[in-house]
Symmetry: C2
Subunit: 364 residues, 2 copies
Amino acid sequence: MAAQPQRGVSASTPVSQAADADAVTATAAGAAPAHGGSIAGVAQRAGVSVATVSRVLNGHANVRPATRERVLAEVEASGYRVNELARNLRTAESRLLLTMVPDFGNPFYAEIVRGIDALARQHGYFMLLCDTGADEGRERSYFDLLRRHRADGAICLDPATVQHALAAESTALPWVACCEFDPAVGVPYVGIDNYRAAGDAVRHLIARGRRRIALINSDEHYLYAQQRRDGYLDALRDAGLDARDAWRVDVHCLDYDAGAKAAAALVRDGEAPDAIFAVSDTLAVGVINGLRGVGRRVPDDVAVVGFDDLALSAQIDPPLTTIAQPMRELGETAARLLLQRLADPRASVPGVLLPHRLVVRGSG
Amino acid sequence: MAAQPQRGVSASTPVSQAADADAVTATAAGAAPAHGGSIAGVAQRAGVSVATVSRVLNGHANVRPATRERVLAEVEASGYRVNELARNLRTAESRLLLTMVPDFGNPFYAEIVRGIDALARQHGYFMLLCDTGADEGRERSYFDLLRRHRADGAICLDPATVQHALAAESTALPWVACCEFDPAVGVPYVGIDNYRAAGDAVRHLIARGRRRIALINSDEHYLYAQQRRDGYLDALRDAGLDARDAWRVDVHCLDYDAGAKAAAALVRDGEAPDAIFAVSDTLAVGVINGLRGVGRRVPDDVAVVGFDDLALSAQIDPPLTTIAQPMRELGETAARLLLQRLADPRASVPGVLLPHRLVVRGSG
DNA sequence: TTGAAAGCGCTAACAA
DNA sequence: TTGTTAGCGCTTTCAA
């Protein structure tokens, strides 16, 4: 598949509803010598070779202090900046880490991404953030950035089904899985024990006297969804409770409205649940809203437990009982694993499980 | 007073830091010939010159169909991928757009970023997302990526104070301002009419019979904060209403807790406001929570109006009355302006104002 | 300690 | 239509 670069942007932008205030004409610049100039200019003006300038720029030890000063002074004076395009070609690395998330509008992913970003920057990398929409095609095309030397490594938060596809094509590329992972894929990963976490949520509801517990789950392209479902099912079974199919619904999108709709549907039926466990706080927020919309009180009529512990979840009414994930650490760990892998491609990089915890608030 | 404190945080999971499950050892690879190989190999195997391969790869017209097929077949067979590091050096462009946001944890920015990303990708660019924390130092160091040829252009959502600093150092660099802008800086921008929007919010409250209207504002490093304050003040004055200093508070962070704390403080005093206008929905969500915490009912005791119209805002109880910003379009337009600027550096690029609108829901 | 020079892999001007 | 070749700006041997 050849690259089809769409160079040039012809769009003259008629922007209809735009009341264009004032127009900014190109500033000074003109066809100026771009910015900076090259290392050669600096070398010449400093009276040294390009090699010496390079050595100074890269902090190599074997440069006479006087020479170093001279070079640094010239760099300062000319405002020279290294051209990292050239450096990257020469050193064969992009210093970019690719992060692929199914939906960065979800605050859960936003927080993880911050963790990745912080750690990456700390190690001299920048993060290229790509929203895949959990779509295998987009995922694949982003992943291809590794092969095109646009990124040095990747962190994938997409569904296991998608990860399997990646793994089939490219076992050897440096990537790691975060939050969503299948140990069988054979790449380093970090996540939590979803099975146990879901069990904890359900056992909590049972301990509070709930008996008709529903599950609003993500779609089962996600392994975590399967694991949480199993955790839910086994916890019910262990308690000798009914697990009706009608009390299990999969949604294909974790946004608020999906939760609201699913909840309203759940309680519409004859034998309505007295508790709902939703596998994401965004869903749970919607659930609470949906229940309110059909006149059910939380937690009196229906208890609600979410998953993630977003900042938001403590703010709503009633505040959400939920399973907290260490989002920041998940991101940081993923980045660390990837960096390890990049530093030593033949090193053995572990799979890591981080602890979750139940946070009890007012909703259930 | 912050939200309902976490009543019981039962640490159900002892799991020490990292229970490393299984270890992933480096896969096949070894010291393999990296991925791909170069254009020269493809050329040789296809029996053509590198120039021809390059032409095929870039979709140039003047290649005989038969030749093209042969090259394409070889590319396919060998799994060759272009090295964009090399291409970028040669063409002197990185095909990366830098987006600098004060806080991408804020859903407002997340939605704008999606707009930028969508449009950028549509034009063959990727987006480098940088969280500056509204810090001038970080901003400056990110901005330097332009000079180091790491990014072709930048979109800045940071405070005007920070933008002024940038502008002083680099009028000629290709960047645009989004949401937060000062026409005087002389770079293309897109945003809304903050003065009028704030006025609309306040006039709505007045029309609903509110007389003691408080303002919870962002800190005044942001020009938009000054504009919204002026809109608020003038709307009050035009209605002949009191504008007490005690009813105006600036917060330095737009998160939920900041709103909750500010609201609780506002109603603690003797002459409490009967309405609160918060310049961000995240703040407003916190405000509603804070008021609930001190036993005030919304909207009966205190009406609340927010700003932005996040997806979340329709979900909470009561649902938030707010000023909607066209977030997606703001992002897309910013990207479009930047792309225009890159396509033709001497073109006159306009400042663009997009429409806002008042969304009336239950909170005020 | 410093410099000369070879390339990294690609694109594009120029020739054929 | 195709090939030859000169760089893009840098890092890094290898020699001095």
